[in-house]
């Protein structure tokens, strides 16, 4: 049996003891989960970094207590690049996870993935539509940070419900709190909230799932 060196000692027809059999089941279960399930950290990591650094950079384009001023163009490039990387990583991860599978879970996962695209496209349409009426610059900024965090929060609530994961649900609640806080923080404090609470929260969640991968669904 090529490539199966962990079990090479036992040829496939040799009888297994009950203990060996149970150990084999546990080993194979771990291996299957590792290869079949995507650790949410793969999504949270790149997005957390993009929010933390990207909106941190935007925050630094304003005169703040921090003695560093970034030109707007620099912040725009940082945001553009990090968001593009995070988007590509998420799409590739999502598509690869569903490879060779079909059925209710696959459909649920695909529908959930599309919820992000549909939600953010609609959010952009709504916010741009409202902005066209002539909102003050600060109001536009607060509209975007508040509504984006709100949508992210709701989608994590949905993920928590869909994948029966209380941690993701809790992350959703955290994003909702951040959404409201960002609007009341005003400009440019809202960018600090998006960066530290939003991006920082995602990075902490990524760390949590890296140290403690999700348990198999039971």
């Amino acid at each position: 049996m090529a490539g199966d060196d962990t079990n090479a000692r036992l040829d496939e027809d040799s009888p297994l003891s009950a203990g060996e059999s149970l150990a084999l089941i546990e080993r194979q279960q771990r291996e299957t989960q590792r290869r079949l399930r995507v650790n949410p950290a793969v999504f949270y990591g790149p997005w957390g970094a993009a929010y933390l650094l990207g909106f941190g950079a935007v925050f630094l384009t304003y005169p703040t207590a921090v003695p560093l001023r970034l030109p707007g163009a620099v912040a725009a490039v940082i945001i553009g690049v990090l968001f593009a990387v995070a988007t590509v990583v998420s799409i590739v991860t999502g598509v690869r996870a569903g490879r060779g599978l079909r059925g209710p879970s696959r459909a649920a996962g695909a529908m959930y993935g599309w919820s992000w695209t549909l939600g953010f496209c609609t959010l952009a349409a709504v916010n741009n539509g409202v902005t066209r009426l002539g909102l003050p610059h600060d109001a536009v900024t607060l509209l975007w940070s508040g509504s984006s965090l709100l949508l992210i929060g709701v989608l994590y609530l949905a993920a928590g419900a869909l994948f029966q994961d209380r941690f993701q649900y809790g992350l959703g609640l955290w994003m909702l709190i951040s959404a409201a806080t960002s609007v009341f923080a005003g400009v440019p404090g809202n960018f600090a909230v998006v960066s530290l609470a939003g991006g920082g929260g995602l990075l902490l969640a990524a760390g949590y799932f890296t140290l403690r991968p999700p348990c198999p669904r039971r």
């Binding site: 049996m1 090529a2 490539g3 199966d4 079990n7 036992l10 040829d11 496939e12 027809d13 040799s14 009888p15 297994l16 003891s17 009950a18 203990g19 060996e20 059999s21 149970l22 150990a23 084999l24 089941i25 546990e26 080993r27 194979q28 279960q29 291996e31 299957t32 989960q33 290869r35 079949l36 490879r99 060779g100 599978l101 079909r102 059925g103 209710p104 879970s105 696959r106 198999p216 669904r217």
Partner: protein, 109 residues
Amino acid sequence: MSAIGSLPGLDPVIHAQARLRVMVALAALATGDQITFPRLQQLLDMTAGNLSTHLRKLEDASYVQITKAYQRRTPVTYVALTEPGRRAFADYTAALRALLTAPTDQPVG
């Protein structure tokens, strides 16, 4: 160590290393989900010939359902555990646990 050999009360279709691994991998899928032959093969690190031999035995026992579908004119083979297969696997693991807890054995692994 517990007794080596044909253990009483254990399903002989499942109680063989390669088929047991196939059963574990398929049982990890949610009910109603199916996996393609190549992805299952990759998941288990088995050769195609080896995997199809064991799948045939599991199919003969009605533990596994094999569905042939077409995707853009290419034939794709999907594999899934049947309801009796899922039950047989649960019974098998329960029997193993019973064997290990009943006598003086300490669990392995």
